[in-house]
Structures are given as structure tokens and as C-alpha cells.
Subunit: 718 residues, 2 copies
């Protein structure tokens, strides 16, 4: 009894019942205009829906003249989609009737679930469970609804005021109220949508399911996401990687709000969800090919360019302007955003020289001068777009009294027809330029009020290009430990002792210098002699966390007598200490020669699972916060990428006449650490601080490490 | 015979002839509509000008029915202002006639001067000289003209299409073509102007003169500047400091384009001017109280807030929204821009709780929920604005189907009338919200399409507040050298020898360890013994620039015999070297103990004159480019500010258990270095790299220094 999607040869996707229903029941409609239940019903009714619509409104004969039913079960024939606007406390009853009726898709608009606290959460779980049991696709609860502009369906099942234009951009939003603003903003910019979904509390269908659906949707070219909370981070990444690469690649642009701690706090009180660390989110989106943007304006500025123009072959930009100042500002913005200002070849400058007046600037940015009319724009654009050194062009216009704005707009449209390079425009101003802009909009040439916006959008397109061109590394995991030590499985929550930490790292092949946990002075002296001096001694005691402050660390011991003295001293301190700490022993280790100090970390993000961290040691992390993240595990290429991403990477590459550090060794350590946290879900946090890195070819060595275990019953994040 | 400004008691400002003329001649008018000469004449004629207008159009009886004259001298009565649109080659003749006629102000619209090369530059200089000789105020050449919206004058002497609305914002632009875009943009946003000036090549009146004039202009509240090139940097700074502080303080917001090298290059081919270093410009604007912004949108977003709302008492922001998502995004943007999210006191949360539904968020950002009508906005705004912890409020609205947008706009207007705290709004969208936005515009409540823009504007206002509250330091110059060494006055261009560098620094009280230029081994050994070991030896030879590579540096010499050996070795190297370098001697210096290494620099910027530079040594400058600039000379407060501005400042303040460095000593060095470059205009560049800084109280010492002199005939920049 599934809905038949209009003229689609593929087997119907499970979400077709939501996007392309042939029959809809709206449950809980009231006759009062200006209320959510009535607005939604009327929006479907007046939006041109091509199927059949039934209001379920107990006690009413009709709604807006459409015959009404008391229960969904009373409706004759099949129902593909139910839109539920009943109050929260009767929603589960309504869903059960839908299940009995064989409904395949449900949109729950009603609020009053998870976002209201514990009772609401329980109510939401019941809802989810009923839908799962009956294989019903659920959108919501607590959402604005769903829009499909496909003329074959024409469904506005939302309380947005108007049906948007049909277009190639899909928009998915966790925030419902934002949707109304976005729709109104887009209408002002003449931006159309393919699908528009407010998914609310996502008790059933999530952003991941929607991404999969839109990937296959032929009417969608670009996918926009607004997220406040990420629930299944790994699944999102996997889905995004599938969507954004390959033959049917579609760009995903996303706003993830809650960037600041205060914003994250506001988001959590708004959605009842916890926020992950924002820098991690940045790194993860980058690894998933999701273009993260920070504002609605950037979201749409970039989306229209991706949706409406061909992809550029490179990042070299030509600017054609009738105003020097905006040309300079656009150049600044382009360079700032990471684009190249194209250098014209000789032919181009000759062509420009021949076509433009002597006072024109024939270098990039090309200034056709304030009194330019359409002919000069035509000549300049023809010349620069024919240049092999130009990948794309930006047309800037300021409205002088002699500027024939509409003629220039028509010229740009003609030029766009004759080139396969992307074009963007900025007709600066508002009123005088309005008619010209309308002509550009009609021909789907991306227009921006300010040239700077065009540059940022083109830079986002470059991010998409770079992502598509990059190799996705198939992570070859380093060798796992033959058997995981028992204490990693059954040990107590909290920090592992130092000898165990070293043992674990060693089991995963991380470079730990020769060491032994010694329990008497003679053993310490003999072991030190066997591995060679200098050595270090470190007290091991479950009660002594801050070893240095306690006097539990001795460095650079150069002979046996020094080892013996240090050993005795440590034990004397311990027995004299008022807390009477239990001494497990003393670790004797070969001293590591000086080198670059770096920090390797791993932690289990509650959204994305295991994540690696890398930074230079000391002030670079503590003062400059110069660190980078990646999803664990990583392969060598991703590890190398992490190193390159820190601002101070140049230091490791051999600054100021120093030899370059052994980055291969660092990469290897990152890969092995990634494998470790991947294998051992109980590991909450690893902090190798520092790893001491020798010059290239000479390796690296772990100087100090802390490992913290989570609760014994914890499962892996996925 | 100067113009009588309408009802102004002060003696007329010299620029009144330009802004408030009673009679105008336009020289070079042609009868063809759509040309610059005709457009300008018609703009004055139809713009409502309250004085008398005469066209000078040889061979024509009239222009647009206004009687025309052959020469300006033929016009009966006095002429206050001449607007010249003749071709460039006859402009000087026209100006001479204006001088003979007693004209006091001239606007030269015509292009074809400095921007076209050497001939044009010569033409421009003649123009400037004639105007100076006859005490004529000159705007231009190569400009769009000037607008004064004062209804008592109503002058549109420009080729902008329409007269802008009267308002409190003045706009000054070096780019003419940008002006037309700005006027059109502003009209779309219903932004009015007091004065609007395109000053072009600024051969006569400069941005500095205009700032002075606008400071006194009662109709101007905020001054906006678009600059591509700065000609008289010091004068601009002095003027900006006067304008932006004190009883009649007016904010100045500026775009200085050419931020990137490519942009600067584009600017130089556009204006024929050289660009200074952008980081220096940033520092200088900050010191002058000029709020530097990077885009037209930020310029006006901040200007309307400054022009139309009271100044806030602090930086604590309350957000009231009917949409959670935009509330989160606004919180992110506010925090990112440096604002505080206000914490409400208990009364406020009680009031909010009483007035709002249970599902509302009564913490900041306050979410009045999607179905809110005007009454909820009223209650929420009344509550948060009454809170002493709130300095300003942002109202966010998204257009749900039940949102009574205009009622809410009217409510905001009423609330604005009843509070002395600034209000901003973001009614998000475009079409549905248009009428509401119009109501806000009419009441001059700043409205922004996106809440993020409102936050950035409020952050700019905070920059103005902080500047006004900051103490302007009266620089107490450190003691100058009793007499400047002759070689600073008459020496050759290029690098000073090391002994002279040390001598100069010592003369200005910079900490240079005991040293002597020794010319024989015995002298070196004896001097070393007299100052105490360890010492360093450094070869001095005009031909040896890279001393270390040459083997001309010996460090950490601990006794006389080591000194003797090193001395002999250096001289042997020199005499064995194929280049046969002349050896001046060997500098023996007391070795400086290890400490923090910092770099102090000074250079003569061609726009701003002497500028100081500060950064941490080594990789912090070379890899991280973490440096800061300030105008020289500086006092202790400005010097301290420089140190604080580097990102790695925390390292000097005592990171990771290290003692704090002697920052007082660093400040003192910066002050003395500033005095040195202030006193000696021939010094082109000083590079103290490194200054070694001991822990607090223990001083600092110059380890190495280079000083470069400019040409012997150079004068100080100002």
C-alpha cells in the first residue's frame, strides 16, 4: 500500500511516503484561521497539492468546505501520509490509528515532547517506538513540516506562509522557526527550493536519512543543513562522504550553531541536547566534505552559485568593474578568501587595450571606467573569459548616471550563454540597480549586493572542488595488540598507573623507551645499568597524581649511585608523607634526548566517538591554543594533514636553520594512537605530553602519558 | 565676499563656500542629457538648491532654459562656488578666471590628472598652485562632486542620480564610482546623509580638512570614510583624535582598501599612489580612534546604530526572539564579536516567568516561542530593559503564520521611546517582514536582515565606547642624546657598523652590555678581564655583513687565553679570505645571560613616519608573524599596549610556572627606541633582534642590533 511516486523508475525510497504522497490526512484540524492546525491544512489545500486531502477533525462536518472525518480509520481508501497537529498528549493514540490504517509516513508538527523535559522525553520515546514497530517513517515531533515543490506533487505540509518557488536547493533545518525566516529571505532573493524540511526533534527520520534521500533526488543539486545538535556523528560523516563525492556528488553546506560556549548553552536549553566541542565539529565537517558556513547569508550566497553555475576549473578570478574602488575591495576580499587574481596572457591585454579607452585599467581587476556602457562590458568579458588563465569572472557595476544597467545585465546573460566558466555579478546599490538585478535573477546568474559576498561564495565553491579532488584515504589500521590487557576491559574507572600506560602504548607499537617498574633499590640500579645511562626515575603510587610536586621524579641520572640515591629519596618522601601513599614501585626509564616537543591526544567525543588531537607542546597549546583534531582512526595522509594544519607547523618542518623533525615518526604515532582508541572503547582520554621528536629519520619517543578509562559498562559510541 | 551660511553664528569656515554657497557657476555645461556636464548642472537645478545657479557654456544662450554665459567673468554679481566640468586641458584657464572673479570654492569634476601619469600630475600641480595662490578651496580633480542635504542649502553638485535623504551621517570617499553605489544602497535602506563628498585626487581639500569641517558641522553625528591611499598620515591621526574624543566627539568609521598586497597593487594602478603596510595602517587607525571596518555593509550597519541610538552604558546584551535557532546564532555572533550575554537578575526572570508561557526560555536569549504576538514581545522587552544587568537589547522576529509583524514593530517603537538603552532589531526574511521593517525604519530603529549583523554593529559601538573611555597618553619623551653623533647626520646611506649601532643605542639609554671596539689582541684580552667573563667577540668590517657565517662571532669566552685565541682566529680568517675585508676591529662585549628573546624594531613608514614594531623572537615572528605596531614615539602605556597585543603575550607574563619577564624594561626600551627614531629622521630602520629580557626587576639587554640610514638629504616625513 505504499504511495506511487510520479513517474520514477527506481523502487520507491522509504521516504517517498513523506515527500510524494498521493493521499494525505491532517489529524487535528481546527476551523480557526491563524492557528497552526488550520494553517497547515489550508497550506496543503491551497498549495496546489496534486493528490487527495482529508481533514480529521472530530465533531466537524467539514474544514474549508472539505468533508471532515472523526477518525483516520473512517477515511475510505488508503492514506500515504498523516500530518498530526493534535495536542502532544493524544499524538500516540493518533499514531496507533494511523498504523491500523496502514499509513506509511507521519509528520508530527505538535510540540510538547523532549524539549519540555522528562515527561515529554518519555512521550517522544513512546511515539518513536510505535512508529518503529509499524515501520512508519516519522518526521518531528516539534517541527514546522515539509515542502516538496515538485510540480507533480506540490506539497506544502508546513505552517510557512507561502509555497516557495521550485528550485534545485534542498534545505533541512533542525530549527522550525528559522525556516519561516529562510523562506521569506529566499523569496526576496528569488531563490527556489526542491525540498524543504523542518525535522524538529528527529525522533524518527534524521538528517542522515534525509541526506541519503536527497542524494538520490534528481531535483536537488545542493543540500543546505541547519543543525544545532548532532546525534549520530559517525553516521552523518559516512552519509556526507557518500553524498559529496563520486559520480552523483552534491555539495552539502551547513550551519552548525552553538559555536561559542554561550551559544552552545543557549542551544542546549533550546533543544534539550548537549553540544560537542566546536573545534572538533569543524575538523569533522572538513573530513566529511561538509562545507561549514557561519551565516544564512553565506549559506545562500554559496548555494546559488553551486546550484546555478558550472564548476570552475580552478581558482583564478577575473574581475571586470566600472568602478576602481569596488574593484580594489573585491581584490582584497578574493585574496582574503583564498582565490587567485588571474594574470592575463598577452593576447588578453592586447584585446582589452584595443577595446577600452586609454584611461581604462587593462590589468586584473579590469576597470572599464565609470562611463562604460554595455559594449565595453561585453568586450572586456569576452576577452577575459577567452583567457586560459581565467577560471571564473566577477562583474561589478556601480550605477553612474550614464550606466545602461539593464543593457549591461542583458550583456552578462548573453556572455553567460556562451561560456562554460562560472560568472557572478555585483550590481551595487539597491534601487537604481533593481531592474538589472531582476534580469540576472531570471537567467539564474548569481547576484550579490556586495562584491565581497561573491568572492566568499566563489571561495566556498573552491572548497567543494578541493574536496572532490582530494583522495579519500582508506585507513590501513596499524597492527593491534595481540591481546588487550585485562585492565583495559575490567579495570577501575579513572587514570591508569604509569607503568600500565607505558605498557598499553608499547603493545600498540608507540615508541616508549626501555623501562621497568622496579620494587627495590638493587633492581633499579641493576636495570639502569643494563639499559645504559642517563636514566629517569618516576614514583608509581595510586595516590600520587602530581609526581613532580611530590618529588617523585628524578631526571638525567648518570650512574648507579645516583639511581640508588634518588630511589631512596623517593621512598623516604613517601613514607614520611602524612597521607602515607601506597608505593607500587619506581619506574626506571632510559632518558630521552632533547628534541621538538609535541602533544598527541585522543578523547572520546560523545557525538563523533574517538577523536585525535595534535599540537606543539608547551606555550603553543597553553597560550596560543594551536591544536588540530581529526576523527580516529587515521591513516598516514590524514595524520600528515593534522600536522600541517597547526599554525606553527613550519617549526617542525625546519625553521631557522634547524633540521626538520621526524614527521614520519609523528604520523606513525598518530596512526597507532588512533588504532588504540578505536580498539578500546573504554579509553576516555589519552594524553601523550610530550612526545619528543628527533630530527628526520631519528624517530620520536613518548616522554609522558596519561590514560583515563570510562565506566566499565560503557559501549563503543557506535 | 564669502557665502553667508544660513543662520550660523560662528565665523564661516573656509569650506563653507563649498558646502553652503549662495551662488554657483557650473563651467563647461553641455546641453546633452546623459553626459556628466549636463547631469551635474541638472542635478543642482532640480535638487532644490536654494541659491542662484549660472551655467557657463560658451556658444549657448541657455541650458535647460537657464541663461548661459560665455565666461564666468561675464556673470553679474558674486560667485561663491564654481563647479568645473571642462576637459582637463582647459581647467587651469577656467580656474584663473574663477580667481579673477573672486570665487572662493571650486569643485573640479574633470578627470585626466594625476591618475593618467606624468603629464596629468604636472597639470594637477598647476591646478593646486593656482588655487593656493588665490586662496581657493579646491575639491577634486577626478571626483563625483559634493552633496549637502541641509534643506537650507539643498545642493547636489554631483553626478549621482538622486539627492539622498537628509540624515546625520556624513560620507567621504576617495572613489567616485563607489559613491553612486553607496547612495543607491543607502536609499534602499532608507539611510540619510548630512554631507556626501567624493574628494577624488584631493589636490586641494583633503580628508583631513573635511574631518575638521564635519567635526564642527551640527548636522553630522557620524563620519564615514572610504580611503584607498593615505597621503598625510600624521595629520589624519591628529585630526581623527580631535574629532573622536571630547565634548563634541563624533565616531569615524573607515574602510581602507588595499588590505592585501594584490588589493594594494590594484589600488595603486587605480589611484597612482603607493600603499603603506596594512598592519601598520590597522595599528595607526586604532591609535587614532578610527573604527576600521572591511565592508560597505558593516560601515552602514554600524553607522545607523551610532547615528540613531543612544550609546550603551556597557557591553551586556539581552536577546528577545520568537525563534530558538536564530537566538543561538545571535548568541554565537555576539560572543564572537566580543559582547557579553547579559545574566538577568532574579526579578527579571520572575517577571518573564509570569508573563510568558511555560515552554518559553526565560534565560538569555529569551525565547518568547514561535506563536508569540506583540504582547509577549512587550512583556519580555519591558522586563529585560528594566534589568540593571542589561545595557542593550536585540529583538529577533521570524515570520510564523500567526506572527503579527507590524504590531510587534509598533511595540518595539513604543519600547524604544520609553528606554534610554539602545535597541536593534532583526525581522528575518524579506517579503513578509517588509512592512514591519518599514515601521522600524520610520522610527530610526536600526534594523538588520540578520541578527549577526546587529551583533557586529553593537560590537563596533563598543569599540567607540572603549576608545572614548581610554586615556590618551601624553607621551613623555625619554631623555634625548646630548648631541647626535655626526655619522647620524652626515654618514653614508646604508647600514651602520656594529660599534656605531651600539654607541647610538647607548646614547639613548638602551641597555647595551659593556663593550669596546678593540684593535689589538692585548687590548681585547685586557678589556675582557676588566669587564669580567664570559665575553663575546664580534668582528667589525664594512665588508662582512653575515658575521656568523664568516666565523666572525665567538661566544661564551671564559678567560683571557680564550679571548686571545678567538681574536687571532678571526683576524687570520679575515686576512686569508679572498675578498680581503678591511678589519675595523673586534668588539669585545660582556655576554648576556639567557632570557626571553624579543624583537624591537623601528622603521620609517612613508605615510605615517616613524613606526615601532614588537614581537617575540625566532619562530614567533618568522613562522607565526605575531607582531604588533605603533606610531613612534610611544609612552609607557602605549608600549605596554603593544606588548599585550601580540598573541603570545602570555609567554612573557609568566606561562607554565616561569617567572614573568621584565616588561617594564621592555617598555622602557620601546620608549627610548621611539625617541631615537623620532629625533633622527635619517634613520630608516632599526632592528634590535633579539633584546634578551630577564625576569621582572632584572632588566633586559640588547644582544644584536642593525641600523640602516636613508639618503643624507632626507627630511623628516612631517
Amino acid at each position: 500500500m505504499t504511495a506511487k511516486p510520479p513517474a520514477q523508475p527506481r523502487p520507491p525510497h522509504p521516504l517517498e511516503s513523506l515527500f510524494c504522497p498521493r493521499s494525505i490526512a491532517v489529524l487535528g484540524v481546527t476551523p480557526t484561521p491563524g492557528t497552526v492546525p488550520n494553517d497547515i491544512f489550508r497550506n496543503i489545500l491551497t498549495g496546489g497539492f496534486t493528490g487527495v486531502l482529508y481533514p480529521v477533525a472530530p465533531g466537524k462536518r467539514s474544514i474549508s468546505a472539505v468533508p471532515a472525518y472523526r477518525y483516520v480509520l473512517d477515511i475510505p481508501g488508503t492514506i500515504d501520509l498523516a500530518v498530526i497537529v493534535f495536542p502532544a498528549n493524544v499524538v500516540d493514540k493518533a499514531i496507533e490509528q494511523c498504523a491500523a490504517k496502514g499509513v506509511k509516513g507521519v509528520i508530527v508538527i505538535s510540540a510538547g515532547f523532549r524539549e519540555t523535559g522528562a515527561d515529554g522525553l518519555a512521550r517522544e520515546r513512546r511515539l518513536r517506538d510505535v512508529c518503529r514497530e509499524h515501520d512508519i517513517q516519522l518526521i518531528g515531533p516539534n517541527c514546522l513540516g515539509l515542502i516538496n515543490t515538485d510540480p507533480a506533487v506540490a506539497l506544502n505540509a508546513s505552517f510557512a506562509r507561502k509555497m516557495p518557488d521550485h528550485g534545485r536547493i534542498a534545505f533541512l533545518s533542525q530549527s522550525g522557526a528559522l525556516c519561516t525566516a529562510v523562506l521569506d529571505y529566499a523569496r526576496g532573493q528569488q531563490i527556489g527550493f526542491s525540498k524543504f524540511v523542518s525535522f524538529g526533534n528527529k525522533a524518527g527520520v534524521s538528517e542522515v536519512d534525509l541526506l541519503e534521500y536527497l542524494h538520490a533526488d534528481e531535483q536537488t543539486a545542493v543540500i543546505l543543513l541547519y543543525l544545532e545538535e548532532l546525534s549520530s556523528g559517525r553516521a552523518l560523516i559516512e552519509a556526507a562522504r557518500r553524498v559529496t563525492r563520486g559520480a552523483n556528488a552534491k555539495p552539502i553546506l551547513a550551519i552548525k550553531s552553538g559555536r561559542t560556549p554561550q551559544g552552545a548553552h543557549a542551544a542546549s536549553s533550546h533543544t534539550g541536547s548537549l553540544a560537542g566541542e566546536d573545534a572538533v565539529c569543524d575538523a569533522v565537517f572538513r573530513e566529511a566534505g561538509i562545507i561549514r558556513v557561519t551565516s544564512i547569508e553565506e549559506l545562500f550566497n554559496s548555494a546559488i552559485l553551486l546550484a546555478d553555475q558550472p564548476m570552475p576549473r580552478g581558482d583564478r578570478l577575473a574581475i571586470v568593474t566600472n568602478a576602481g574602488g569596488p574593484g580594489v575591495m573585491a581584490t582584497d576580499a578574493a585574496v582574503h578568501a583564498g582565490l587567485q587574481i588571474a594574470r592575463f596572457n598577452g593576447d588578453t591585454t592586447q584585446r582589452l587595450k584595443a577595446a577600452l579607452p586609454a584611461t581604462a585599467n587593462i590589468q586584473n581587476p579590469v576597470d572599464v571606467i565609470g562611463d562604460a556602457r554595455a559594449d565595453r562590458y561585453q568586450a572586456a568579458l569576452d576577452a577575459v573569459l577567452a583567457d586560459d588563465n581565467v577560471d571564473q569572472a566577477l562583474v561589478i557595476l556601480t550605477p553612474q548616471s550614464m550606466t545602461d544597467i539593464e543593457d549591461i545585465a542583458r550583456t552578462v546573460c548573453r556572455v553567460a550563454d556562451s561560456t562554460d566558466k562560472p560568472l557572478t555579478c555585483s550590481f551595487m546599490g539597491a534601487c537604481d540597480v533593481a531592474d538589472g538585478i531582476a534580469l540576472l535573477h531570471a537567467r539564474h546568474i548569481p547576484h550579490y549586493i556586495l562584491p565581497e559576498w561573491a568572492c566568499r561564495a566563489m571561495a566556498d565553491v573552491q572548497r567543494v572542488c578541493r574536496w572532490r579532488q582530494s583522495e579519500l584515504e582508506t585507513v590501513q589500521l596499524p597492527q593491534a595488540a595481540a591481546t588487550l590487557p585485562k585492565y583495559l576491559l575490567n579495570g577501575d574507572e579513572g587514570y591508569l598507573s604509569e607503568d600500565r600506560c607505558l605498557h598499553v602504548l608499547q603493545a600498540y607499537g608507540l615508541p616508549v623507551s626501555d623501562h621497568r617498574l622496579c620494587t627495590c633499590e638493587d633492581e633499579a640500579a641493576a636495570f639502569a645499568a643494563s639499559i645504559g645511562f642517563p636514566v629517569t626515575l618516576r614514583l608509581v603510587s595510586p595516590q600520587v597524581i602530581h609526581k613532580s610536586e611530590f618529588g617523585g621524579v628524578a631526571l638525567n641520572l648518570r650512574d648507579e649511585s645516583a639511581v640508588r640515591a634518588a630511589y631512596r629519596d623517593m621512598l623516604a618522601r613517601a613514607s614520611a608523607h602524612p597521607d602515607r601513599p601506597t608505593v607500587t614501585g619506581v619506574i626506571v626509564r632510559r632518558m630521552i634526548p632533547a628534541g621538538h616537543e609535541v602533544i598527541l591526544g585522543a578523547k572520546r567525543d560523545h557525538v563523533f566517538g574517538p577523536v585525535l588531537m595534535f599540537g606543539l607542546g608547551g606555550v603553543f597549546v597553553e597560550i596560543l591554543r594551536d591544536v588540530t583534531f581529526a576523527l580516529a582512526p587515521v591513516g598516514p595522509a590524514a595524520a600528515r594533514q593534522m600536522i600541517r594544519q597547526i599554525k606553527a607547523a613550519g617549526i617542525l618542518e625546519g625553521a631557522r636553520g634547524q633540521p626538520p623533525a621526524d614527521l614520519d615518526a609523528v604520523c606513525d604515532c598518530l596512526c597507532r594512537l588512533g588504532r588504540l582508541v578505536h580498539d578500546c572503547p573504554r579509553i576516555e582520554e589519552v594524553d601523550i605530553n610530550p612526545l619528543i621528536v628527533a630530527p628526520a629519520g631519528q624517530g620520536a619517543a613518548v616522554a609522558d602519558v596519561r590514560i583515563r578509562l570510562g565506566p566499565a559498562d560503557r559501549a563503543a559510541v557506535e
